[in-house]
Amino acid sequence: MYNFLPHTAEDRLNMVKAMGLSSETQLFDDIPASLRHGITYKYLQPEGLSELELQERLKQLATQNTAGSYSSFLGGGAYHRFIPSAVNTIASRSEFYTAYTPYQPEVSQGTLQVVYEFQTMIAELTGLDVANASVYDGASAVTEAALMAARITKHSKLLVSKTLHPDYRAVLNTYTEALEALTIDTFDPLKSTVENLIETWPTDDVAAVIIQHPDFLGCLTEAASFNALRAYCDARGALLIVSSDPVSLGVLEPPGRLGADIVVGDIQPLGNNLSFGGPYGGYMATRQKYLRQLPGRLVGRTLDKNNTVCYTLTLQTREQHIRREKATSNICTNQALNVLKATVYMALMGPKGLCEVATLSMQRAHYLASALSKLPGVSLLAPERAFGFEFALSLPAPAEDCLTWMRAQNILGGLSLSAYYPEYPNTLLIATTEVNTDKEITHFIDVFGTWVESFNLSHSKKEASGALKAKETCPS
C-alpha cells in the first residue's frame, strides 16, 4: 500500500490477534482522546506519490536550479572542485551509507578504520598531532575550538579576525551570546598589522586569537605575522586558532608548523558536493597536550581479545552520553559520510595530486587577477598581500552591476563583498579552481573587459573620480 512498509493487511491482523487484541487502534488508547481526534493538515496531501511520480517531481525541482548552465567563480567557503568518480562509488555503498554510528566495534571496523585514516590525514595536512572525527561544519569547528581554548586557558576573551568567514563569525557570536561566558573583539588585518594588534589589546584575559588562512578575501598570513601572533599568544597564555581550507594545505606550509595550536576548517573541498550548503564537515586538529579538551568523536587503534589489530571509538568519557551536562560539547554526531568522501578523495589525490589541485587553482587565480587588475579603474583590494586561489577585486562601480553583466554571458562572476563588508561596496570576490577551464578563464576576462569598457564609455568623469576616492580607503 505505501512505498516502504512491508506488512500486508493480513500480517497486521495476525499480529494483532497474536497479541490478544481486537484492533490495532487499542495500541493508541494511552493517548488522550482530545489529542487523537480531529487531526488536520494544512499543507500535506493525504495520499503519497508513487516512485515514478516522485522521480518526476524531484527532477522538475532540480531543473529549476538553473545555475548548472553557468561557469561559476563563486567561492566564499564552498568550492566547486573536481570529484573523482571513485569517491561516489565508495560513498554510495550501503555498508557505509546505511550504517549506524560505530558504537559496536565488532561490526563497524569499516567506518572506524576510515575515520582513523581521516584523523591521520588531517593531522598530516595541518601539521598537528591529533584530529577528531569531525564536527558539523567549518563554522562549528571554529566555535568548538574557541570553547575548547576557553576551557584550556580559563580566559574569556576571543580576538577574532574580521576576515574569518562571516558565517563562522556569526555562528561563533550565536554560541557565545547564549553561553554568556565569552566576549569577542574583532580586528581587521587589512587595516592593522599583527604588531598593532598587540598594542591594541594588551589584555591578559585572552583565550584565543582566531584567524583564517587563506582568509575570506583569499589573502595569506605571512610567516612573520604568524611569528608575531605566536609571540602574542605565548605572552598571554592564549591559544592560536587557524581556520584553513584543506585543499590549500596541499601546497601551504601546515599552520601547525607556523605556530597554530588548533587548526580547523571545512572538508567540503575534499570530495564533497556543494549541495546548496551542506552537509559538509568541520575538521579539528590540535596538539597532543590538548587532546582531553578536544570535543567530538575520536577513533583509536588497539587490539581485540584475539590479538587482531582493530579500531574503536575512544576517550568517550568526554562525551555527552556519559558526562551529560559536564561534557566537552553537546555534539553527538560526526559527518561520517562526508569524512568518508574526504578520506577517499585524499587517498586518490595523494600528496602530489593535492598539491597539483591547489597549485593549478592558484595559477588560474593569479593569471586572472593579473589580467583583470590591468584594466582601468580595477585593482586588487589588497595588492600588497599574497593570495591563493581566491582574491578580492576593487571595481569602478558596484559589484552587483558587474555580476549582472556577467550573468547575461552565463558567468557567475563571484560574490559581491558588500553583503559581508558594507565598507567595500565596489568589491568582487573571485575564486578559481581546477574546474574552471582555460577557456572559462579567457571568457571571464573578455566579458569582464566589456563591462569595464561599457562603464568607462557611459559614465562621467565625476563618477570615475568618486570610484578612485573609494579605492583610497583600501590599504595602501
Binding site: 500500500m1 505505501y2 512505498n3 516502504f4 512491508p6 497486521r12 499480529m15 495500541l27 493508541f28 495520499e47 522538475q60 525541482l61 536550479n65 538553473t66 545555475a67 563563486l74 550501503s94 555498508e95 551509507y97 546505511t98 550504517a99 549506524y100 559496536q104 565488532e106 561490526v107 567506518t111 578504520q113 576510515v114 593531522a123 598530516e124 591529533v130 558539523y136 561544519d137 567549518g138 563562522y168 555562528v171 554568556e180 596541499g250 601546497v251 546548496f276 550548503g277 551542506g278 564537515g281 588497539t302 587490539l303 587482531t308 574503536t312 575512544t314 558526562r323 553537546n330 554526531t333 561520517a336 559520510l337 562526508n338 589525490m349 595523494g350 595530486g353 593549478l360 593569479h366 593569471y367
Partner: protein
C-alpha cells in the same frame, strides 16, 4: 605473537609515485606562474609534501570496498536500536535527493537560479509544521543535538526579551537523552533533574516541587525513553506553563506519534526533529544528521536566520528576523538531507505517515508481547515505538551473564545489538525499537534468536560470555584503548 591485521592501513600500501587520478594542467601563458615560489611568498609553502598515501586507483577502491564489507548496515541486517530509529533509507530519496541540480548548486548562487532548492526548503518547512502542529520551522540545525541547542537558545532569548533573566533552570527527567542536559548546559542553564515515577513517567509531585519562578523550561520526550506515552502530558504542560516556563519536546521519538498526536497540541512550545530518524535520511556511519526545529508563534521571532520564504512569485531566503538568535550553521543547513526528507514525506502523504507510526507501534508491541515470556519487561504496558527489557532473569541462571554479553551474541546472528544501559533508570536495560520497515518475518526471526540466546544463557553460558564469535573482530578492551590512545598512524609510536 604478531598481531593479525584485517586490512592494512592505507599508509602502508603507499607506492611512491603511484597516482589515483589524473588532473589537467594549466594551459594559458604561464609566464611568472611556473613555480610555486612565483606566486607564494617564502616561508608559506610546504617544506615537505604531506604523507598522504600514493596508490593506483584500483588499489584505493579495493581498500575501501573491503573496509565497507566489515560493516553491519541496514541494507544487510536488522537494527533493533532503541531511540535511534534505524529504518530503511528508501533509494529513491537518496538518488533523487542527489540529482546534479541539487548537488552542484553553490550555496551562494543567486536566488533566481536556485528556485528549485528554495522551493524544497519552503515546502519541507510547511510539511514539518504540519506534522508537528507548530507554526514555524527552521531547517538550519545540522543534527538533533544542534536542534536541541537552538531550541534552548530560543528559550533563553524569549526570557531575555520578556525581561525574566531569573529563569535560569531547566528541568530534565532522569530518563532523558544525554544530549538534553548537555544542550541546556551549553546555553548556560542550570540543569535540575526530575526523578521518574514508578511507571517511568514524569512524577507530578516531583514536578510541582521543582517548578519555581526560576524555571525556564522542561525538556521532555513523549513517548519517553521507556517507549511510554506520558498519560498526564496535558497536565504536565499546563503545570509548566502556569509556572511561567516553556515546554521543549525532544523529537527523537516522533516516529511513534505521527498522525496520532501533534506535539504542539500536547502543549509544547518548541521541538526538534531528527530527519535521520523519522524521515529516513541515512545515518552514514555516524552522520550527517539534520535537526530542524519547529516552534509556535511565541518563539517564532527568535528563529535562526535566514529561512526559506515565498513572495507569491519567487522563493527567497528571508533575513528579516530582528530578534533572531542568529546563525548556527554556515549557509542554510544540510540541504541534501532536506531534499531526501522532502522526498520521503511526499512518498507517504499524511495518511501514509500515520500508517508509519501505527506500524512502528504495532511492531514494538508485537516484540514486547513475544519476548516478555523470556525476558523481564519492567514496564509491561502498551508501548509506543520502543520498549525496554532487562537481562535480570538470564543473570540469575549465571551471575556472569549481563546485558552487554547477551546483546553482543546477537551479532553472531547478523543482528545489531539494541541500545543498552539506557535509559539510566533501568538496571541492565535493553532498549528495542524495531521501526516501521521491518517485516513480520524479520520480527519472528528476531524472537527466535532471542529465544535461542535465552536457552544458551541457561545451557551454554560460555557461548554467551565469549560472544561474538563470527564477527570480523572479537571483543575490544575499550578501557585499555583509552589509556594509551593511538589516534594517528604516524605518531602512534610516540603517543603518551
Amino acid at each position: 605473537m604478531t598481531a593479525k591485521v584485517l586490512e592494512t592501513p592505507i599508509f602502508e600500501k603507499s607506492n611512491p609515485g603511484a597516482r589515483g587520478v589524473s588532473l589537467p594542467v594549466f594551459g594559458l601563458d604561464s609566464t611568472g606562474l611556473n613555480r610555486i615560489s612565483d606566486f607564494l611568498p617564502e616561508g608559506l609553502t610546504r617544506k615537505n609534501l604531506s604523507r598522504l598515501p600514493e596508490l593506483a586507483q584500483l588499489d584505493t577502491i579495493r581498500h575501501y570496498v573491503r573496509l565497507s564489507q566489515l560493516n553491519h548496515c541496514i541494507d544487510t541486517g536488522f537494527y533493533p536500536l532503541g531511540s535511534c530509529t534505524m529504518k530503511f533509507n528508501p533509494k529513491v530519496c537518496d538518488l533523487y535527493g542527489q540529482l546534479d541540480g541539487f548537488t552542484q548548486l553553490h550555496p551562494l548562487t543567486p536566488e533566481s537560479l536556485s528556485q528549485g532548492a528554495l522551493e524544497v526548503m519552503y515546502r519541507l518547512q510547511q510539511y514539518l509544521a504540519d506534522v508537528s502542529g507548530f507554526d514555524r520551522v527552521t531547517l538550519q540545525p545540522a543534527a538533533g543535538a544542534q536542534g536541541e541547542l537552538v531550541g534552548m537558545m530560543m528559550v533563553k532569548a524569549y526570557f531575555k526579551k520578556h525581561q525574566q533573566p531569573e529563569r535560569t533552570q531547566v528541568l530534565i527527567p532522569d530518563a532523558a537523552h544525554g544530549t538534553n542536559p548537555a544542550s541546556a548546559a551549553m546555553c548556560g542553564f542550570e540543569v535540575i533533574e526530575l526523578k521518574s515515577n514508578r511507571e517511568g513517567g514524569v512524577d507530578l509531585d516531583e514536578l510541582k516541587q521543582k517548578l519555581s519562578p526560576k524555571t525556564a523550561a522542561l525538556m521532555l520526550t513523549n513517548p519517553n525513553t521507556l517507549g511510554l506515552f506520558e498519560r498526564d502530558i496535558l497536565e504536565i504542560t499546563r503545570l509548566v506553563h502556569d509556572a511561567g516556563g516553556l515546554m521543549y519536546y525532544d523529537g527523537a521519538n516522533l516516529n511513534a506519534v505521527m498522525g496520532q498526536a501533534k506535539p504542539a497540541l500536547m502543549g509544547f512550545d518548541v521541538m526538534h526533529i531528527n530527519t535521520h530518524k523519522t524521515f529516513a535520511t541515512p545515518h552514514g556511519g555516524g552522520g550527517p544528521g539534520s535537526g530542524p526545529v519547529a516552534v509556535n508563534n511565541k518563539l517564532a521571532p527568535f528563529l535562526p536566520k535566514p529561512y526559506a520564504d515565498f513572495d507569491g512569485s519567487q522563493y527567497f531566503l528571508n533575513n528579516d528576523l530582528p530578534d533572531s538568535i542568529g546563525k548556527v550553521k554556515a549557509f542554510w543547513g544540510n540541504f541534501e538531507m532536506m531534499a531526501r526528507a522532502f522526498t520521503y514525506i511526499s512518498a507517504y502523504g499524511s495518511e501514509g505517515l500515520a500508517r508509519v507510526s501505527q506500524d512502528a507501534v504495532l511492531n514494538a508491541n508485537y516484540l514486547k508481547e513475544k519476548l516478555k515470556t523470556m525476558y523481564h519487561v519492567p514496564y509491561d504496558l502498551t508501548c509506543k515505538h520502543e520498549f525496554v527489557m532487562t537481562s535480570q532473569r538470564q543473570k540469575v541462571t549465571d551471575p556472569h551473564i549481563n546485558t552487554m554479553a547477551i546483546v553482543k551474541r546477537l551479532m553472531d546472528f547478523g543482528i545489531h545489538p539494541p541500545t543498552v544501559y539506557f535509559p539510566l533508570i533501568v538496571a541492565e536495560c535493553i532498549m528495542i525499537e524495531p521501526t516501521d520497515t521491518e517485516s513480520k518475518e524479520t520480527l519472528d526471526r528476531f524472537i527466535e534468536v532471542m529465544s535461542e540466546i535465552d536457552r544458551e544463557c541457561r545451557e551454554t553460558p560460555d557461548v554467551i560470555l565469549n560472544a561474538p564469535h563470527t564477527t570480523p573482530i572479537g571483543k575490544v578492551d575499550e578501557v585499555a584503548a583509552a589509556r594509551n590512545p593511538d589516534l594517528n598512524y604516524f605518531s602512534a609510536a610516540k603517543a603518551d
